[in-house]
């Protein structure tokens, strides 16, 4: 785990890119219990005006959170985590899927060895799919 003393406002967390493929959505449906048809049925998703099957917002949130939990090692150190879902993540039926890139930066140092990490999440290099994404973690 990074030490509070060594972290500064502006410290960047290691960025990660996560593939988001149809198989991931099917697994997430089963694990979360969220079987909303727009996450697995392209015909229905398109009929209600979506560009394609879209990822669960909570799946995107979970992937983005990994940048923070991988940085601290112990996910139990994550005290608060919040996001706004600004744009859906369409997931094409191909072998590549969407590519979700997540970056994190320390925005503030708080008392009690806590820091605020701001996160950005974009798909395929440009479109931001989360806004106001922030986590509070307790460092050693």
């Amino acid at each position: 785990m990074p030490s509070y003393a060594d972290v500064e406002v502006g410290t960047e967390l290691p960025a990660q890119t996560f593939p988001v493929q149809r198989q991931h959505l099917v697994m997430y449906c089963g694990a979360s219990g969220d079987f909303n048809i727009i996450h697995w049925n392209e015909r229905v998703a398109k009929a209600v005006g979506l560009p394609d099957v879209i990822a669960h917002g909570m799946f995107t949130m979970a992937e983005a959170g990994r940048v923070v939990t991988d940085w601290v090692g112990d996910p139990g150190a994550l005290l608060e985590y919040g996001v706004r879902f600004s744009k859906p993540v369409p997931v094409p039926d191909d072998d590549r899927g969407a590519q979700l890139t997540v970056r994190g930066t320390v925005e503030e140092k708080l008392d009690g060895n806590r820091v605020v990490v701001g996160l950005t999440a974009t798909i395929d290099g440009d479109a931001a799919v989360l806004s106001g994404a922030r986590a509070v973690v307790r460092l050693s």
Binding site: S32, G33, G65, P75, L79, E80, V83
Partner: protein, 152 residues
């Protein structure tokens, strides 16, 4: 049709407790592709000071689906058309990590319903406890697209 504002302040206790099991935590972690040993290996979790494997930070979203049928969202009097709903915001406050073996009790409250342009925003706050110990507070905002009452 606008949402029924009389729902603001109403509380919805989950009809049953929720038992957190190791295998479900592993399955959830696998579904998000996360091999952090603290989600999978009780010995690793104990070495890090936890009594058992812990849950990924967004795991408690499962409560909403487990107890969905007792949520105000499915009450016809609320007037919510689920086809018009998108998830707007989600926030977790973890008072302590969720772990295998927890028997969770949860109560959801309709905290707010308000207009945002043509849309309505409905915010629910869920308090999760285990044996009266506070575990987590979840705040989720749903967007009901295009249902706001427009001023004449």
């Amino acid at each position: 049709m606008p949402l029924n504002r009389a729902f603001v302040g109403r509380e919805y206790p989950a009809p049953d407790t929720y038992e957190v099991g190791r295998e479900h935590l592993r399955q959830f972690a696998d579904a998000i592709g996360d091999q952090n040993p603290l989600y999978h290996d009780p010995a690793a979790a104990r070495a890090a000071g936890h009594p058992d494997v812990i849950a990924p930070p967004t795991f408690l979203t499962v409560l909403g689906f487990r107890f969905g049928m007792s949520s105000p969202i499915v009450d016809p009097d609320l007037g919510l058309n689920y086809a018009l709903v998108v998830h707007g915001e989600q926030r977790f406050e973890h008072h302590r990590p969720v772990r295998a073996g927890d028997v969770l009790t949860s109560v959801s409250r309709v905290a707010d319903i308000r207009n945002a342009g043509r849309n309505e925003l409905m915010t629910m706050v869920t308090e999760v406890t285990a044996d009266d110990e506070r575990v987590a507070t979840l705040t989720s905002t749903l967007v009901s697209r295009g249902t706001a009452q427009q001023e004449a």
